[in-house]
Amino acid sequence: MVPVDYYIVLSAILFTLGALGVLIRRNPLIIFMSIELMLNAGNLAFVAFGRSYEIAGQQPFFTGQIFVFFVIAVAAAEVAVGLALIVEIFKTKKNINIDEMNSLKG
């Protein structure tokens, strides 16, 4: 059985990559993908912890797995809204460079 530490390290690496992507990249599509990466790093941690508690505990314990479904659902909704916004911004600015979007005025 693969110890839980390995999963956690992998999750941290994925999260760091995602965070760096959010901070460094200028293309909002890439940023969305980086966010997805971070979310999935979280999911991985949830599932890993959930599995490890299931083994340690006497009774079945699915809390971590169930939470991951919620995260996936929220991430889907977020992407839907985010993509819609990006399309709208592109319509007005003909550009989706994130550094151009520093004012609240449309």
């Binding site: 965070a19 959010v22 901070l23 460094i24 994130i98 550094d99 979007m101 520093n102 004012s103």
Partner: protein
């Protein structure tokens, strides 16, 4: 309301109307007078005064049917503090009703006269709007005088005393923006101020007397004061002496005695009815009334009585000498009034209260007559002058009321009313008169009657009253008798001089040549006064079974035995008076004065006449002794002490300088600039620099916000993990 002891019959309930009747007239004229015609205004005022006379007569009748019992009619509560109980109470007894009758009787006649007089006066002075004001003041005077004579306490008397003083001030300064010749000047208002200020000195004495009275005798009410006085007179006689002498100062102020008489001659600046009513017949006799009213006090201290008598007699002689050297017709009468007031004060000082009151009454008659006749003569002169100034194109006007009307109508034509007089013409200067006997016969005969009464010629009123005073003084004090006799001689002389100068000889001025007689509204009241001047002596004939006034006043003052006629005294005074008139005829009548001729007395009397002419330089003396030093001191106080020391040095240098130094050095430079300012500046600078730094964070890049969020998360998590 309360009656003194028993229920009494009569009209005492009318007493408040003594005051309210004139006040009602005053208010009516105050409200409606502007719209009403002069006749209406004058009628209302005269009726108000006449109503007061009717009330006075009814009150006198009521006193007589109650056998002279004094009735105190309380109208209102006034001051009740501790043991001080003062009410507005009318005191109705034989003395006060006598004064009421004189005041309202003579007052009413003068009101009527004033309708005619002021009608012309306001036109000669180009201000018809003041007619109404004059009658308001006149009614106010009657009201104040009634308060004075009807007061039941010294304080109530003082209220009236001040009230008449105020009216005197207002009426002397009636033409306040001009002098007696209607030239723009402050002479009249200065005369009014002089009267007011000199009277303040007298009032100061009166007030001190009142304070002493309350402190030692415990009351202001007449009966209580007189009841308490004898005990105090025994234990501490100086108290009564002080009270009576301080009261004498008040009397000297109001009744124009030495040394405070100087205001009365200047008071002639007022219109002539005022001179007659206030400054001859009524107000100035208030001092005599006060002494008579305070008779129980004066009787206790013979030394004070003697001083009063000497002051009176001295004034009588002194003023008579000045009257000889005067040229203004009213000034002669003014000094004559002072002199006659001296007679009255001397009489009441000697304890001859009845004689003093008797002379007060007759003097009110004949001196009012003389003043009003003099006013009529002055008006006649003014009419003549007016006639000249406006040319002769109207033809010769007829005499009497009609002509004066026409002359006025002339003045109404066109807009030429502000014509400046071609020359300064004094219608009251006897040197401008002469020969008025022909042009103003009625005034002439009235003046003769007044003169004979004043000179004390048998059987006119003045003879009886003056003779009574002389008789009393001859029995008490020989020196006073001689002073008064000489004064009486001079009285006859200066009145004779006046008659010859004014009415005989040839006109010395064109205006006198064109003088016109006065209308009936002026002459009829004079005829009534003339009648009273002739018959007034009947009030108190010195024969067995008469002495009516003596009996009447005896109700209040205590019964005194009337003196019989002393033929020697009467003979001497009459002979002297006739002699004086004869001498005056020799000097002024035989060779009438010509225009611009100096007074024939000037040569033989030399510097004495110069003294008489210049009022013995008393005014100048007062200026040198009191007024100029006072001015100097006030100048010094105002300029040096107040302005230079107090204002310039203390305020500007010390206080302002210290304040400036403090604020500049201590507060401004250190506390403000280095403390508060510096802190405020630092606060502003700090805010600016901090915000400049923080502004850089807020760059709008999503990435940097995300980085900040992440760093925050890392920090918090790091803290949570590592703690």
């Amino acid at each position: 309301m309360h009656l003194s002891e028993s229920v009494v019959n009569g009209f005492f309930f009318l007493a408040p109307w003594l005051v309210f009747a004139p006040v009602t007239g005053l208010l009516i004229n105050l409200i409606f007078g502007r719209q009403w015609s002069e006749k209406m205004v004058g009628t209302v005022a005269s009726l108000a005064s006449g109503a007061a006379f009717v009330v006075s007569a009814l009150l006198a009748y009521s006193v007589s049917i109650n056998h002279g019992e004094a009735v105190r009619w309380r109208l209102a509560e006034w001051i009740h503090i501790g043991t001080l109980n003062l009410d507005w109470t009318f005191r109705i007894d034989s003395l006060s009703t006598t004064m009421m009758l004189v005041v309202s009787g003579v007052g009413t006649l003068i009101h009527i006269y004033a309708i005619g007089y002021m009608h012309e006066d306001v036109r000669f002075k180009n201000d018809e709007g003041r007619f109404n004001r004059f009658f308001i003041f006149l009614n106010l005077f009657i009201a104040a005088m009634m308060i004075l004579v009807s007061g039941d306490s010294f304080i109530m008397l003082f209220v009236g005393w001040e009230g008449v003083g105020l009216c005197s001030f207002l009426l002397i300064g009636f033409w306040f923006e001009m002098d007696t010749l209607a030239r723009p000047s402050w002479a009249n208002s200065n005369a009014a101020k002089k009267a007011f200020i000199v009277n303040r000195i007298g009032d100061f004495g009166f007030l001190i007397a009142g304070f002493l009275m309350f402190w030692y005798l415990g009351s202001f009410q007449f009966d209580e004061v007189f009841k308490a006085a004898p005990d105090v007179a025994e234990s501490a006689p100086w108290v009564i002496v002080a009270i009576t002498l301080f009261m004498l100062v008040g009397v000297a102020g109001k009744s124009a005695q030495i040394p405070l008489y100087v205001w009365l001659p200047d008071a002639m600046a007022g219109p002539t009815p005022v001179s007659a009513l206030i400054h001859a017949a009524t107000m100035v006799t208030a001092g005599v009334y006060l002494v008579t009213r305070s008779a129980p006090l004066y009787t206790l201290v013979p030394q004070a009585q003697y001083i009063v008598a000497v002051v009176g007699a001295g004034t009588a002689l002194f003023a008579a000498t000045i009257a000889v050297g005067q040229y203004d017709i009213k000034k002669v009468l003014a000094y004559s009034t002072i002199s006659q007031l001296g007679f009255m004060v001397a009489a009441v000082g000697m304890g001859a209260y009845v004689a003093g009151m008797f002379h007060l009454i007759t003097h009110a008659f004949f001196k009012a007559l003389l003043f009003l006749s003099a006013g009529s003569a002055i008006l006649g002169m003014e009419r003549g002058h007016h006639h000249l100034a406006h040319g002769h194109h109207e033809g010769k006007p007829a005499r009497g009321k009609k002509s004066s009307k026409e002359t006025h109508d002339d003045s109404h034509h066109g807009e030429v009313r502000r014509v400046e007089p071609i020359e300064t013409f004094d219608p009251g200067d006897m040197r401008n008169m002469g020969g008025l006997r022909k042009s103003m016969p009625v005034t002439f005969w009235l003046y003769i009657i007044g003169t004979l009464a004043l000179a004390g010629i048998f059987p006119f009123a003045g003879f009886w009253s003056k003779d009574e005073i002389l008789l009393d003084s001859s029995l008490h004090f020989q020196n006073i008798y001689w002073l008064l006799t000489i004064a009486a001689f001079l009285t006859a002389f200066y009145m004779g001089r006046q008659i010859w100068m004014v009415f005989f000889g040839e006109p010395r001025h064109a205006a006198a040549a064109h003088a016109q007689e006065s209308p009936k509204v002026i002459t009829v009241p004079l005829m009534i006064l003339a009648g009273l001047s002739v018959l007034g002596g009947a009030l108190n004939l010195p024969f067995e079974g008469f002495h009516n006034l003596g009996h009447w006043l005896g109700y209040t003052l205590g019964e005194v035995e009337g003196l019989p006629l002393d033929l020697k005294i009467a003979g001497i005074s009459t002979a002297l008076a006739l002699l004086a008139i004869l001498i005056s005829w020799f000097i002024y009548g035989r060779n009438p004065l010509r225009a611009h001729q100096p007074d024939p007395l000037k040569k033989p009397l030399g510097f004495i006449f110069t003294g008489m002419e210049n009022k013995w330089f008393v005014d100048e003396g007062y200026f040198a002794v009191f007024i100029n030093p006072f001015n100097k001191i006030s100048q010094f106080l105002a300029d040096v002490i107040d302005w230079r020391f107090w204002h310039d040095f203390v305020h500007d240098t010390v206080i302002l300088g210290t304040y400036n130094w403090l604020s500049e050095i201590a507060l401004d430079r250190y506390a403000d600039q280095k403390g508060i300012d510096a802190f405020a500046n630092w606060l502003g600078d700090a805010t600016q620099s901090v915000s400049a730094t923080l502004r850089k964070v807020q760059n709008g890049f999503v990435r940097s916000y995300a980085l900040a969020v992440m760093l925050g998360v890392v920090l918090i998590l790091g803290y949570l993990i590592l703690k």
